[in-house]
Symmetry: C2
Subunit: 502 residues, 2 copies
C-alpha cells in the first residue's frame, strides 16, 4: 500500500506541477461520506477527487494498451533476460492500471477493486517490479505553488505571437552599459573557458573602497535575486516570520515562501513603503527579516537616508533589515543611509542590472557585517558568476563619467513619460528610479486592461500586483523611439480600456 500512496501523491504533484490543479471546487476538501465509503482512507479520497477534477487520472485505456503490448513482448521473448525485463515492465504497468481504475471507481463511489496489485490475467510468475515512484518531495516543497515571480517578455511575445516594439516593463536600462564595460566583457569572452574567481576579490576590492567597507563585507550573487534567496535561506526556517510591504518585490516574497517563512505584510502609505509600520510589524511578529526597497519598486518613491538611519533605532532586536538599493544610483544624493558596514542589523543590496545597464550579466551583491557575509559562503553556489560579467562590472564601476551622463538621460526619459501621461490626462508618481508609475486613474482591472492593450500594440510594461498600487502601470525609462511608440499607443490603449470589448 505504501507504493500506492506514493503513486497517488506523485500523480497529484504532477497535476499540480502542470498547473491543472488550481481553483478546483473540491481542492483540499474530503469527499462527503457515504455508505460503503469506509474503505477509503481520507487522504486518498482528497487525492482522488483532486485528480479526477483536474483530469489528472492516468488514462486507463492507454495503460491497458501498453499492458497488452508488454504482454505480447513477453510472450515473444526467448532469452531469459529479456523475459525478465518485460515482466518487470508488465508488473509496473499492471500496477499503474490498477491504481487508475481504482481511483476512478473510488471517485465515482463505486466499490473498490477487490484485489489490487495482483496480476490477472497474465503471466503467473510475475513479481512486483520496482514501483518507479520517482521523487519524494518534502512537505514544504510539495506545498509550494508552481508560480513564477515574473514571466519574461519573451514568453509573452511567444504567447501573443508578435515581438514587443518597446521593451519598457522590466526596468532594464535601455541605454546599456558603459562602452568600457562592453569592451571588457567582449575581451573576457575569449577566456570564457576559465571559471570565474569564486572569491570575486577584484570586484570586492573596487567596491569596498567606494562603500567605505572591507572586501569581507561584500558577497556576490546572480543578481540581487540570488543574494536575496541566499539571505532568506540563511535566516528563515519554516514558520519564521518575515515582514514586507503589500505589493513590494514579488521575488523576495517568492524566496520567503520557498523556504517556508511566514510573510506578514503592511500596506504602502501614500505610495511609499511605510518604514514605521514595517518595523512595528517586525516587532509584533518577531521577524527574522524586514524587507525595504529604497528607492521603492514598483512605485519609484523613496525615503532620504537620514530617515532610515533614525528609524534603525526602532528596528527590533534580532530582526535584520534587508535594504534593497537596486535603484540607488538614480536617486538624489543622501538617499542611501550611512550605515556602519559592521552593523549587524542591516544588509544592503546593490546591482549592476539597473544603472550599470547589465541586467543580462547577473551581477548583484550584498553589503553587511563580515559574520553575516561569511555565512553566505556556507550555502552559496561559489562558481555561479559569469566570468565576462565579472570583468564587465569592474570596468563599469570605473566609468563614472558615463554614469553621470546616464543619470541625465534617465531624468529626461522620466520627464517625457510624465509628459506623455499628462497629455492623456494621467498623473504620475514622483520617482527616483529609471521607471515611472503612471496612475491610470481607475482600479486595478482598468490598469490591467491598459497594460494588455499596450502589450497588443507592442509595448511591454508591467504593473503592481495589489491595490491601491495597481491603479498604476510601471513604465521604464525608454529611449526616444521607445517613448514615441508609447506616446502613440497609450491613448489607444486607454480608449480601449475605457470601452472594453467583452
Amino acid at each position: 500500500m505504501a507504493n500506492w500512496h506514493r503513486l497517488t501523491e506523485a500523480r497529484i504533484r504532477k497535476a499540480e506541477a502542470e498547473g491543472t490543479l488550481s481553483g478546483l471546487a473540491g481542492e483540499g476538501r474530503l469527499l462527503p461520506e457515504r455508505p460503503g465509503d469506509a474503505l477509503i482512507d481520507p487522504s486518498d479520497a482528497v487525492g482522488y477527487r483532486i485528480m479526477a477534477e483536474a483530469g489528472a487520472l492516468p488514462e486507463e485505456i492507454t495503460l491497458k494498451a501498453r499492458l497488452d503490448a508488454a504482454r505480447a513482448d513477453w510472450q515473444a521473448a526467448t532469452i531469459e533476460a529479456d523475459k525478465r525485463r518485460h515482466m518487470a515492465r508488465i508488473a509496473d504497468l499492471q500496477m499503474r492500471y490498477e491504481i487508475a481504475r481504482d481511483a476512478r471507481r473510488k471517485f465515482l463511489r463505486q466499490a473498490p477493486a477487490p484485489a489490487a496489485l495482483r496480476l490477472d490475467p497474465g503471466p503467473s510468475e510475475a513479481v512486483l517490479a520496482p514501483a518507479m515512484t520517482g521523487p519524494r518531495y518534502p512537505d514544504l516543497i510539495a506545498r509550494l505553488p508552481a508560480t513564477v515571480p515574473f514571466t519574461g517578455p519573451e514568453e509573452i511575445e511567444r504567447v501573443q505571437g508578435h515581438p514587443f516594439r518597446a521593451r519598457l516593463g522590466a526596468n532594464e536600462n535601455v541605454y546599456g552599459p558603459s562602452p568600457k564595460a562592453l569592451t571588457a566583457m567582449q575581451a573576457a569572452d575569449a577566456e570564457i573557458w576559465k571559471y570565474a574567481d569564486p572569491s570575486h576579490l577584484d570586484l570586492k576590492t573596487e567596491i569596498s573602497t567606494r562603500m567605505g567597507c572591507r572586501p569581507a563585507n561584500i558577497v556576490f550573487g546572480e543578481g540581487i535575486d540570488g543574494c536575496l534567496g541566499n539571505l532568506v535561506r540563511l535566516l528563515v526556517a519554516p514558520g519564521d516570520p518575515v515582514v514586507t510591504s503589500e505589493g513590494a518585490y514579488p521575488t523576495f516574497a517568492y524566496h520567503v515562501n520557498g523556504y517556508g517563512g511566514t510573510l506578514h505584510k503592511v500596506p504602502y502609505r501614500d505610495d511609499h513603503e511605510d518604514i514605521a509600520a514595517l518595523f512595528a510589524k517586525a516587532a509584533e511578529v518577531d521577524a527574522k527579516i524586514v524587507y525595504l526597497s529604497n528607492p521603492d519598486n514598483p512605485m519609484g518613491t523613496w525615503h532620504d537616508g537620514a530617515t532610515i538611519e533614525a528609524a534603525l533605532e526602532d528596528l527590533p532586536d534580532g530582526t535584520v533589515l534587508a535594504l534593497d538599493e537596486a535603484y540607488i544610483e538614480f536617486a538624489p544624493e543622501g538617499t542611501a543611509p550611512r550605515i556602519d558596514p559592521e552593523d549587524p542589523r542591516v544588509i544592503r543590496f546593490r546591482t549592476f542590472s539597473k544603472a550599470y545597464g547589465m541586467a543580462g550579466a547577473r551581477v548583484g551583491y550584498a553589503v553587511a557585517a563580515a559574520p553575516l557575509i561569511s555565512a553566505f559562503d556556507k550555502v552559496r553556489n561559489h562558481f555561479s558568476m559569469n566570468r565576462s560579467a565579472q570583468h564587465g562590472a569592474l570596468a563599469a564601476l570605473q566609468d563614472e563619467v558615463w554614469l553621470g551622463e546616464l543619470r541625465e538621460k534617465i531624468t529626461v526619459a522620466n520627464e517625457r513619460i510624465a509628459t506623455i501621461a499628462a497629455a492623456n490626462g494621467l498623473a504620475t508618481v514622483p520617482t527616483s528610479t529609471n521607471f515611472v508609475a503612471v496612475d491610470c486613474g481607475h482600479d486595478g482591472a482598468f490598469a490591467k486592461r491598459v497594460l494588455e492593450g499596450l502589450a497588443r500594440r507592442g509595448v511591454f510594461v508591467r504593473m503592481p500586483g495589489v491595490a491601491p498600487l495597481d491603479r498604476c502601470i510601471r513604465v521604464s525609462a525608454g529611449t526616444g523611439p521607445d517613448l514615441d511608440i508609447l506616446a502613440e499607443e497609450l491613448p489607444k490603449a486607454l480608449a480601449e480600456a475605457s470601452a472594453p470589448v467583452a
Copy 2:
C-alpha cells in the same frame, strides 16, 4: 536575559563563521562543575568556553575605549536628537562590554558580575538601546561548517604570490569554445542590458531535439552545481538520507550538507564508482537521491550505458538517480544510458563547462521527467542565467564539427599526460574525460606533496580527497605548452616529494 543569550550565540556564530572554532579541546562540552558555578546556565558555560578557547571573546579593552569615546560625544552634544543617538550607542556598548567581562569571569571561574546590563557609572537617564544582536540563524545553518567545496586557482595564486603558468586543475577546456560560440557571445554582449529569457526556450528546444525529449524535460541552472543544489533542495529535508561515493564530487556533498541531508558513502571499486554498492546502500538507507557521475570525476573512469540501464532495475523505490554527465561528450559512444526522459527515477545533468569550453559562462542543465523539471520552477532563481552565455551555448551546440575536432585534441593531450607520467615511472588511470588521474605511487600525503611542489612551480592541478583515490593527482588535458611545463616540472616535484624539506 534573552538578549544576552542571543548575543552570546551571535558571537559564537561569528567565531564559527571565521573558522576559529574547529578542533577546539572544549568544543561542545560543558565546563566541569565546581563549587560556586551554580549560577552558570549549562548552555552559557559551553558558549563561554568555546568563545574563550577560540579567542572569540569581545575585547573588553577596545569596548571600554569605544564606550568612553561615546560618553564624551554624549557630553559634548548640544542638540537633543544627537544626545539621544549617542545614548543609544552608549547603552549598546555598555551592554556588550558587560557581557564580555562577564563571559571572561565565568570562563575563569570568577564570580558572575553582580548587576549586568545596568549602566554604571554613566548618564543616568540611559535606557537599554536596541540590542543590535543582528541575524538569528536557524540551527541547520548555524551548524553548517564555513567550508568551501573548492578554492579557486586565483585565491591560490594570491596566497602563493605568483600566477600559475599552466592551469590544469579545474578540468576546464583550455581549447575554449567554438569560435561561433565566441562570436555569438560577443554579439550578445551589446544587448546585455536585457535580462535573459528565463524560460530558456530556444536552448531547450535545440537540446530537446538532440536528446529525444521535450523542452518540458529540461531545466537550466548556473552550471551543474546550480542544478544539483536545486535538486537537493527539492528532495532533501533535514535528516533525509542521500548516497554518494567516498571521494566523489565534493560540491554535491556540500549541497546535501547545506540542506541538512545525511550523507551515506560507499567506496570506489577499482577506481570506478560502484553502482551496485551505491544502489544497495540507497535501498538500505531509503535514500532520496543517489549520486553517480559517469564518466567519473575525479578518476576519469566510466561505465557503459547498458550497465547503467540494467542497474536501474535495482534502483530502490523512491530513490532518484542523479546522473552527472558533465564529461559525457568526451566518452565513447554508448557511455550515456538510454533512459526514457519521462522515467521518474532518473535526472541527468549536462553542462557547457567541459567539452563546450564555456566554464566561465555558467550554463548547466538537467533532463528528467516533466513533473520533476517543473518542480524546479518552484525554487530556482528564474533570472539567473547570463544572456550572452545563453546565446553562446546555442551557437556552441550547433557547431558539431568543432566538437569532433576538440575530442581529438583532448585524446592527444590525455595521451601526452600518460606519456609524461610514464617517463616518471608513474601509471595513469584510463580516462574518458578531459583529465587524467596520475597515480603518484604512494599515499595521499605523498601525492599532496607532489601537488604542492607543482603549485610552487606554477602548475595548478587538483587531487581526490580520500584514500585510496588520493594516491593520484588529477591533471586536466592542457595545451602543448601547458604540458611542456608539466613535463619539465613533474620530475622536480616528484623528487622533492620523495625527500621533503621539514
